[in-house]
Symmetry: C2
Amino acid sequence: MDFSLLLEHVFKHITLTQEEQSYFVSLLNVRKIKKKQYLDQEGDISKGPAFVTRGIMRSYSLDKNGFEHVIQFAPPGWWIGDMYSIVKQKPGRLYVDAIEDSEIVWLWKSDLDRLYSDIPKFERFFRILGENAIVAFENRLISTLSLPAIERYAQFCRLYPSLTESLPQKQVASYIGVTPEFLSKMLNSPAPK
Amino acid sequence: MDFSLLLEHVFKHITLTQEEQSYFVSLLNVRKIKKKQYLDQEGDISKGPAFVTRGIMRSYSLDKNGFEHVIQFAPPGWWIGDMYSIVKQKPGRLYVDAIEDSEIVWLWKSDLDRLYSDIPKFERFFRILGENAIVAFENRLISTLSLPAIERYAQFCRLYPSLTESLPQKQVASYIGVTPEFLSKMLNSPAPK
DNA sequence: TTATGCTGTTAATCTACATTAAGTTTTCTA
DNA sequence: TAGAAAACTTAATGTAGATTAACAGCATAA
């Protein structure tokens, strides 16, 4: 198995001895997920956090009218999951599935807790990761509350430059919070972009 | 100074020796903030995270039309701040002010970094705090994207039961993302609540 | 005491975006 | 490689919530 993408990511924030690295790697699990397959469905208890190494994953909620609302996209190098369910180990509110054939590396929540105790440096690693996630959510919320659709689209393009073209438009529409019809009109009408 | 509320909060997640506790307390600063006074304004670099011990604080963004959008309320026992600015030590996008005469306990970002090195248990403490913040943001985002105004109001009442009555309605409107006029209509019209 | 200014209410009008529906193109997949 | 299923477009119509405006109740304050 090739864990290099994840290890590089870890080494950006902490350093590990050879033994620590081996121990960490021994806790990792790999899973391939085909397009449209689910990692988690609403009501599932998440096994633990997942790191994307190939493909594109996404998490979304489903409202009472059956409409999807994308919470996050995760290309390679990003983490994905229903944080509520991961942290509290209770049934979650999100669906997590693959938009393209994907591969993830994941840890059991129980192994993660063990890792925190055995190698406290991982407390630091995930503390930093958490900070970044909070900053991202704070930004998303500011945009969602205070920008019109066209500027939320621009924000999306800035956040996920690699996805802007590879993703079906309806996924983008769901992320920025408009219907596919409206996004289509917006992009084709006044100032073609 | 009375740090008991903050210390209790810390002890819920980690234990400290007497020395560690003294060292931690030596890094704390106290500040009283009168109603309508700012802790931070847009463009400021935040000094560090703040824990509310009295009153009610709030953070909000200002859109280009001059409308406020409340990101968070913080009654006693809650943390508040512009996470982007705190973490990156760059100019922030949020205003933080007091809705009622308040008192906060805060740390310099540089002291916090020192604390992480000197007492690694605080990595764990803030890792857990971060997880909770992410869960809260995830929930807020799900509501904002997938619920109509009346249910976002219900969510607000569940999240901040202590504030539902003490807060001016226009603050609540700004939090749930509608105009004060619309909230007033919603609460007084069909099914008075 | 009267001003001054917040806060909340009501109601008419307006608009960004949703819904519905039909047609076209692209892409899967058998 | 056909034929079904997605993905995208266009346009008519509908609506949740915004805007504007006028007024009433209460504060704080001179």
